[in-house]
């Protein structure tokens, strides 16, 4: 069903030109990518409050959640996750998995 609509969409995207960009590609530096995340999730992914704390999250868990967001789960991540391809997601997963847990009180 959906494939019938793909060609026109591609053509529209080409016609619209530089006003709209393709999904992210090529950027795989975890720290560079993470700079867009920490405004919401906190420094190093350590969140205060309701936004999930993603510091130290295992890679598999991070990737599983991103896949769920791409499938439409969530309130805001469902609108962000589609911009991140597999390589960018993997780089972010490794970056946040490597962040240390907060010091225990």
């Amino acid at each position: 069903m959906q494939s019938r609509f793909r060609l026109p969409i591609v053509l529209i995207a080409l016609a619209v030109g530089p006003a709209q960009a393709q999904a992210l590609a090529g950027t795989t530096d975890g720290a560079d990518l993470a700079a867009a995340c920490t405004g919401c999730h906190g420094p190093g992914g350590h969140s205060a409050g309701a936004v999930p704390d993603i510091a130290g999250m295992p890679v598999a868990e991070f990737e599983r959640r991103m896949a769920a967001f791409r499938d439409g789960e969530g309130t805001i991540m469902n609108r962000l996750a589609p911009a991140y391809d597999a390589a960018a997601t993997a780089a972010l997963a490794r970056y946040f998995a490597d962040r240390p847990e907060p010091a225990s009180p």
Binding site: A13, P18, A19, Q20, A21, Q22, A23, L24, G26, T27, D29, D32, L33, A35, A36, C37, T38, G39, C40, H41, G42, P43, S47, A48, G49, A50, V51, T75, I76, R79, L80, A81, P82, A83
Partner: protein, 436 residues
């Protein structure tokens, strides 16, 4: 320490003056630096603070100096909760102590002007602080010329509070408390671009929330210079469900754009010829880049600063970067999150240039929550990438909260709004106060 260096430097300048050597000596940027390159940041809001903090992390050998005239910074985000009486101003008042703890040299002094050619800030106390790089993050100024009858002398009686400091926010809340039970609050809203596009509508929402609890017969009227506004369908759904009949919006096609303000009479003269009386009048004036950027010749004719979107450098001004609400970064809105995001990109570009590394490109995000009520949050978000010399929204991503979402989602987004505030402040200032 820096004062001693600068004093010696001024003495050297005086000694050189008239010898013909001064012109040669003046561009030397790092006479005062004892280690590594120096980066001077003029402005300590979200953009300047975030850039300083990121530079300490990404370029630890550099000396980072941040200058702001104010020790305290009252944030735009959540300022409407102070107007609506949900939070004290202290809950949204940040400072620069977290930056100092991270190794930033924080200078609290009035900046008289910045000199892009020397990458220097001139302070009102006579000091001059120059660097290898100058980052200008001056925020916005009101364009009083654009609104007849309104000026700085009117702010006590007809506040702008955008956000304008703790006193301005408290004054507006005080006027709401003192107004008649069946009174009318009028907000005038400028055309784009301005700081925080959804802010006026969040403000109308939280004023309506206050009125519903304390002045049940009072109403809110928005007089807008635009025909459409940020998160419009979501705000309208929220107003209908939470404040039926209490919030009225009139737009450009209704002739509602404010043309002149009668401050003494608290009246708005609209383009359409109406004269609208208010019991509380909140004028959100048209805006332009902060004075520091305009005086330095960094702004265009419309009053905003064009930038190179790869590193937020000011074209034609080597080593000078401009960030935050003052710049043209369309389609990114003038938001705290945008300012923080631009600061990350700028700091990374500076660090890479200092290290002799090639520039890397990473996506930018804006995320922005508004509160329709304390337990009712809505959001808009976009992902951007650099496309040639422009910022472009990534097509497959972004958008607003679902129009059909239920109360659980609205409540969750209100909690995310509070959490984002805390995290954005921590990622920008290193530490800080948090609203409830």
């Amino acid at each position: 320490m820096s004062d001693g260096h600068d004093a010696r430097r001024r003495a050297l300048m005086r000694a050189l003056a008239g010898t013909g050597l001064l012109a040669a000596a003046a561009p030397m940027p790092i006479l005062g630096a004892q280690r590594g390159p120096r980066i001077v940041i003029a402005g300590g809001g979200f953009a300047g603070a975030s850039c300083a903090l990121a530079l300490r992390r990404l370029a630890p050998a550099a000396r980072v100096t941040l200058i702001d005239r104010q020790r305290e910074f009252v944030t735009g985000p959540f300022c409407n909760t102070v107007v609506g009486g949900l939070n004290p101003a202290a809950a949204i008042t940040q400072d620069h102590r977290g930056l100092a703890a991270a190794g930033v040299d924080v200078v609290h002094a009035e900046i008289e002007g910045v000199d892009p050619s020397a990458r220097a800030a001139h302070l009102a106390d006579g000091r001059r602080i120059a660097g290898d790089r100058l980052v200008v993050a001056p925020g916005i100024d009101f364009d009083y010329d654009a609104l007849d009858g309104y000026g700085p002398e009117a702010l006590d009686r007809v506040p702008a509070a955008w956000p304008g400091g703790a006193a301005a926010l408290r004054r507006l809340h005080g006027q709401l408390q003192a107004m008649p039970e069946d009174g009318r609050v009028v907000l005038t809203v400028p055309d784009n671009p301005y700081r925080c596009p959804p802010g006026p509508y969040e403000r109308a929402s939280l004023i309506a929330h206050f009125l519903a609890e304390h002045k049940p017969r009072a109403r809110v009227l928005l007089l807008d210079a635009k025909n459409h506004f940020s998160k419009e369908p979501l705000f309208r759904i929220g107003w209908d469900s939470r404040y039926p009949g209490r919030v009225e919006w009139r737009g450009r096609d209704d002739g509602a754009r404010a043309m002149a303000i009668d401050v003494a009479g608290r009246r708005v003269h609209t383009v359409g010829g109406d004269e609208i009386a208010a019991d509380v009048l909140n004028v959100i004036p048209p805006q332009r880049a902060g004075r520091l950027a305009r005086d330095a010749g960094l702004a265009d004719d419309a009053g905003w600063v064009p930038v190179n979107v790869h590193d937020f450098a000011a074209p034609g001004h080597e080593g000078v970067h401009v960030l935050g609400d003052a710049i043209r970064a369309e389609p990114m809105p003038k938001s705290a999150y945008s300012a923080h995001m631009q600061a990350q990109v700028c700091a990374r570009a500076i660090a890479q240039a200092l290290a002799g590394e090639p520039p890397g490109e990473a996506p930018l995000i804006n995320a922005c929550y508004s509160l329709v009520a304390p337990d009712y949050g809505i959001s808009v978000t976009e992902v951007y990438r650099i496309n040639g010399d422009r910022i472009a929204a990534v097509q497959q991503a972004g958008g607003t909260s679902a129009l059909a979402a239920g109360p659980d989602t609205r409540r969750a987004e209100s909690e995310y709004a509070r959490s984002l505030y805390r995290n954005l402040v921590r990622d920008s200032f290193g530490s800080g106060a948090a609203p409830g």
